[in-house]
């Protein structure tokens, strides 16, 4: 447990020292969302209809963008190898990595999302659902993405590959996340959708760290 918190502290400290780790995904999130009104139509009614989807897709891409770096620097300087041979269980380290990744990306994205919701004229009654769906969904994005990051960490051009591997697996989250926001904007209950998002989160919390550990072992030891 002590090791777990120490690992989280180390990862967060590293992110705070490299401010771009935190700000680049957020800036990307904002910019992607801005492209849609410019590219499609600035009309409020039209934007309100697509806002939920746009924000979710932007969050998904922003999370994916930062995923490639999850293990890369530790792999490059050899600390990943040290973690593999250390007596501490690798799964704890991986879980700490994922949680800190979520804290600096997914959590911040969820906090920033009301701003985008205003820009895209999302109905105000759906605002809570949007933040809630992102808070429930983005941890799963980090968990599933970590598997892809682990598989591609030893490869030279893992960046494109990781999106190819992981994006198809993100589809259920996108569907349920946007469905939750849309249900809320039509004044329908959102409990069902949040239960599904929560269930997916719990299942991936159970399995994804193990798959990530297996992936890291393959990448490092061959």
């Amino acid at each position: 447990m002590q090791f777990f918190f120490a690992a989280i502290k180390r990862n967060l400290l590293l992110s705070f020292r490299h401010k771009s780790d935190i700000f680049n995904p957020l800036a990307f999130f904002l910019m992607v969302a801005v492209m849609f009104p410019l590219g499609i139509s600035p009309e409020a009614k039209f934007l309100a209809a697509i806002a939920a989807g746009v924000i979710w897709v932007a969050a998904l891409l922003a999370s994916l963008l930062s995923m490639d770096g999850l293990f890369r620097s530790d792999f490059a300087d050899g600390s990943l190898e040290q973690m593999l041979i250390s007596p501490q269980p690798l799964i704890v380290m991986v879980l700490a990595k994922i949680i800190s990744h979520w804290l600096v990306t997914g959590f911040c994205l969820a906090l920033l999302s009301p701003l985008l919701a205003l820009m895209l004229f999302l109905p105000s009654e759906a605002l809570f659902a949007l933040v809630a769906s992102l808070l429930l969904g983005t941890p799963t994005l980090s968990l599933i993405g970590a598997i892809g990051a682990g598989l591609t960490v030893g490869l030279r051009n893992g960046g494109v590959l990781i999106s190819l591997l992981i994006l198809p697996l993100y589809i259920p989250l996108l569907i349920f996340g946007t469905a939750m926001v849309q249900a809320a904007s039509m004044g329908m209950p959102i409990v069902g959708y949040s239960a599904i998002l929560g269930a997916i989160l719990v299942v991936s919390l159970l399995f994804a760290p193990f798959a990530t550990v297996a992936a890291l072992k393959i990448s490092v030891k061959g």
């Binding site: 590959l161 591997l165 198809p168 297996a214 393959i218 061959g222």
Partner: protein, 250 residues
Amino acid sequence: MKLKFPRWFYRLASPKWFYEISSKLMPWLALVTTVLMTIGLIWGLVFAPEDYQQGNSFRIIYIHVPAAILAQSCYLFMASAGAIGLIWKIKMAHVMAKSAAPIGASIAVLALATGAIWGKPTWGAWWVWDARLTSMLVLFFLYLGVIALTSAFDNVASSDKAAAVLSLVGVVNIPIIKYSVEWWNTLHQPATFTITAKPAMPAEMWIPLLIMVLSFYSFFALMLFARARIETLQREKRADWVQDLIKNHP
């Protein structure tokens, strides 16, 4: 409790034995595939009765449904082979998984393409964002991911294991993807064949379909063997039996 399997089962893990047995099996598989596919195609495309609503356009079912069924089974096969390879460290299982991936991807494309051709006369559109179409498309993406990951590694052993992990993760996700898109949007008719119920069409229609499904499976086995044989030779090129083979067949 200790499980004991017949001897041939253990010998499946030997590349040399696989190479020998597949040389003997492949002509038979080719024969079975040709016979079944000829019967199924002629029966289905010429003699089966017309559909009372769709007329003759329904006949593409004899390609579309077998392709769709096979594309899904092939993924399961690939993932199980990957799991066997990961758990028991069997070389041949990885060879099988690697050989199955491109076949599965092309069969998925076939299912999507025939679906589009069938969709045009019946739904009036080549593509609709329907649950089954979307999940088949996602299945195709999963195949692409596995193929891309396999080719990204230089080292055969790590590429095998990485692809196995990814295909297993995909297996967990397939039901989730399937139900998520089903609840999201659906237009496609429900499954044609289920194990529990009798097909909702007359026997003259579904028997040729069943024959086509079987012929597709046999075709898959044939292609799998052909690919796996080449892969085996490449991987075992330093083994004595491969060297002997090269000397005896210049």
